[in-house]
Amino acid sequence: MTDNALLSGSVSALRQQLRDRAVSSEELTRACLERIEACNGKLNAVITMCSELAIDSARAADKAIAKGDFGSLTGIPLLHKDIFCTDGVRTTCGSRMLEQFVPAYDATVVSKMKAEGAVMLGKCNMDEFAMGSSNETSFFGTVKNPWDLNCVPGGSSGGSAAALAAGMAPLVTGTDTGGSIRQPASLCGVTGLKPTYGRVSRLGIIAFASSLDQAGPMARTAEDCAIALTAMAGIDAGDSTSADLPVPDFHAGLNHDIQGLRIGLPREYFNDDLDPEVRERVMTALSVLEQAGATLVDIELPHSHYAIATYYVIAPAEASANLARYDGVRFGYRCDEPVDLEDLYLRSRSEGFGEEVQRRILVGTYALSAGFYDAYFNKAQQVRRVITEDFTRAFDRVDVIAGPSAPGIAFPFGAKQQDPVAMYMEDIYTLAVNLAGLPGLSTPAGLINGMPVGLQLIGKPFDEQTILNAAHRLQRDTDWHLARPQLEALAP
């Protein structure tokens, strides 16, 4: 096989080739590692490579395949976002705070995918502690968008999205607290799925906002996302918030037939604020689904515009507590020569955390502090319910809700860095989905000025299957998901 075929193949296709012994996992893994080495200097998508470990795992996978003993991902190389703890492999969360941190345990997602035979190539760059929408907050430097090296890849799973788009791996993982899978998937032209809150265990994933965080796959096709989600999902005794529900085989459940599917278009997403070109791409994609038998229904999510305010109270508040453990005592960055305990705390945290992380800790601390709890945190939790009930009512009438994944295409570096609020608007269409704990995915819907745009599909709680089916159908009837950046240009 040509390298190019290896580097742009889908998981489902590569899996078949592995099983047919048309290619070995070691060949595939080496191709990916070479690709990372060739492109990472320009893209900075990967923080840590584990080449030796990967080759060992690939060889083990090849042996297993030779014996006919394979799991759903046996021999498939993947990259994990550097927010997933990996036993014995440095896990930084994009922060100076954890620059040297080597966990003694695997995240449940990591061990489940390992158990399915996946080969871990390394760890992907990300916004520091997953706080950002452009990957500009990483201590390890910005990630470049493979479609245009002057533009951001989105965030916070920007390294994962860029690596996938650049052919470094056929499968990557991400986490999504307010849009961190869907927005970079949109900006990099890949398919990204944020499962229902509780579908995937959070154990071993470095926490940002516990009631919003959810891990999911990013891949080249909806079908691949279905394969990966099946491997990642399931109740975990170690995560009290993981759902005690059976995990369907999402891949086996894939179905092109969307006849009669009711797709809701919230008027609040398609108002005058929506960029006309984004609207045009999203509506074109939706008309493809309509032609396939779906019905488009106008709906209302009347409290949508409260999502940003609600999110930017709840997420920072939870984060302010989640990040209190980084105090320079048991692990992580510690300042030089602390004179006393307070000095240890203040300098370790101020030197170890970047600006955006510190800003969110401040906001969250403020929202929880005496005299403000009711006005901010409690209020935000009330509005969170109001927003969730909007969705519940809408889902009485429709099966799926559709909208843009992001307000626009990838933007140049620095464009929104000076104004945190402008940056927060990047997630205006995705935040509410996390607040309500719903599944959402982004699938490519064409290009604007040569840059990808995503369609977002939002499902009912624990009904990932329906949005995967709709995306799968869209990907059968169109070829937007096959569009690739100029891979050759990325290698030196």
């Binding site: 345990y105 995240a107 959070r202 995560d239 009290s240 105090d327 692990f331 601390t365 929880l368």
Partner: protein
């Protein structure tokens, strides 16, 4: 000015679970530093808590034990503050919706009267670790073995008016939780720690004064002394027209004073909010009933039963009941045939004294309940005088067999044979004519006194084995015959 003390107590009770409240680490006391702290206890990145079912069951047991309302939906919250022994930078506790809601705990005072204390709430939380200040010269060492140990914090209304009431409550609480089996109650190992909220007000006033909180007092005696010393301090300030600063203080047992905790003076703002890594604990009626079915007889009920069933007085019952093992021992003695009243006397008297002397727990008593019952049977049937009984008891303690064996081996049988006694009495009368004459000349009151001389002589002659009651009767008869 005459001041009234107003006291409320917060007790941190360590629950006797095998593993920690949110992790699978052991809770055994005394492990090497940090060897009993896993990734969850250390607050490592990505770690999550999972709630121990036994901690929940124990909390519900406690709630039912004091007749409190059980929160049908209780929630964990994060209490945020920085301290090196607090690994996550927050303590998981229950602030807004505790598992045990309001209840009333009736404390039996020494005279048997019941004094009701209103329990505000009791909630589950995790313990912090330990700072070790003396092991290193320039640093403080942090040991997180205790971090994550389940605690039940039991909070009262300010219902105490004296140190004695507070201590009575604590003793009753200690008794209750050991009966329930939810805590070992070992105060020396910190299983029960007490925070004291104390304020003064003019006698007769209803208003509450400014209070101070004395943290972490860990013995009944220190609680009593800390309250007295803090009363003196506050009264002194108020008498001189000063005002009390609301603050946290520590009790220094060596100096018997309370001291302000300067390090905690930085205004704390705990920023409580619902812990998003844990979901609400929902407790339904069925669960409550299943726990209720496992409740043992509690101290209050046992005290009443001991007075009604065994005819014990309140005082004895109040001494026997608080220690579950002691109460069990008492009932075993009775079951083995020992009469209740003497059983109580022996247990609370000679046995307790001997146990205290040798620092032995009742559960390790060298004298078994059955052996003590054997001794009591031999007293009741007249075989042993009380004096002989004490000798037998000492022999029991020394492990010389059971009462009958000792009586046999030592020939301690009380002489109750009237023929033998009669000749002994006659011999003593014959040998002491002067005293007999004196006796006969005396008035009735004096005679009683003088008869003691003859009894003493007879007992001496019998080596203490003569039945004293029979000796008395025979002696009176014989002496009166002389006139």
């Amino acid at each position: 000015m005459s001041w009234e003390t107003v006291i409320g107590l917060e007790v941190h009770l360590q629950l006797a679970t095998q593993s920690k409240i949110f992790s699978g680490s052991a809770t055994v006391f005394g492990a090497a530093p940090n060897e009993q702290a896993d990734a969850v206890d250390l607050g490592m990145p990505g770690m999550l808590p999972v709630l121990n079912e036994e901690a929940v069951r124990y909390a519900v047991k406690f709630g039912l034990g004091i007749g409190a309302r059980i929160g049908e939906r209780s929630v964990f919250d994060r209490k945020n503050y920085f301290y090196p022994d607090l690994p996550k930078g927050y303590q998981v506790s229950q602030f807004f919706a505790p598992i045990v809601c309001e209840g009333v705990f009736e404390v039996a005072l020494e005279d048997g009267t019941l004094y009701p204390i209103r329990i505000t709430r009791a909630h589950l939380e995790e313990d912090a670790g330990k700072s070790v200040h003396d092991a290193f010269s320039r640093e403080t060492g942090i040991d997180l073995n205790r971090a994550g140990t389940p605690l039940l914090e039991i909070v009262t209304e300010p219902d105490f008016r004296s140190a004695e009431q507070a201590v009575a409550y604590l003793k009753a609480l200690h008794s209750l939780v050991t009966y329930l089996g939810i805590s070992d109650g070992n105060m020396a190992e910190g299983s029960m720690r007490c925070d004291i909220n104390i304020s003064l007000r003019e006698k007769g006033s209803d208003a509450l004064g400014t209070r101070t909180e004395i943290k972490n007092v860990n013995s009944f005696r220190f609680v009593e002394r800390a309250i007295h010393s803090e009363y003196e301090r506050q009264a002194d300030i108020l008498d001189n027209g000063g005002s009390i600063t609301q603050e946290t203080r520590l009790y220094d047992a060596e100096q018997n004073v309370t001291r302000s905790m300067r390090s905690k003076e930085v205004a704390n703002d705990y920023r409580y909010f619902p812990e998003p890594d844990l979901l609400p604990i929902v407790i339904d009626a069925e669960y409550i009933e299943s726990v209720r079915a496992t409740l043992p007889e509690l101290p209050g009920a046992k005290r009443m039963r001991f007075t009604a069933e065994y005819g014990l007085n309140e005082y004895d019952a109040a001494l026997l009941v608080p220690n579950h093992s002691l109460a069990d021992y008492f009932e075993s003695v009775v079951t083995a045939g020992g009469a209740a009243k003497p059983a109580a006397n022996w247990i609370l008297g000679d046995l307790t004294a001997a146990l205290n002397r040798s620092e032995t727990d009742i559960t390790d008593s060298p004298v078994s309940a059955k052996q003590l019952a054997g001794l009591i049977v031999r007293i009741e049937d007249g075989t042993l005088s009380s004096k002989l009984a004490k000798q037998v008891f000492d022999a029991l303690w020394a492990g010389e067999g059971d009462a009958d064996q000792i009586i046999e081996a030592r020939g301690l049988k009380q002489v109750s044979d009237s023929g033998a006694l009669e000749s002994m009495v006659e011999a003593v009368i014959a040998a002491n004519p002067a005293q007999v004459a004196q006796y006969l000349a005396a008035d009735e009151a004096k005679q009683k006194k003088l008869s003691g001389f003859f009894v003493g002589q007879i007992m001496k002659a019998s080596k203490g084995q003569a039945n004293p009651q029979m000796v008395n009767e025979l002696l009176l008869l014989k002496l009166n015959d002389q006139s």
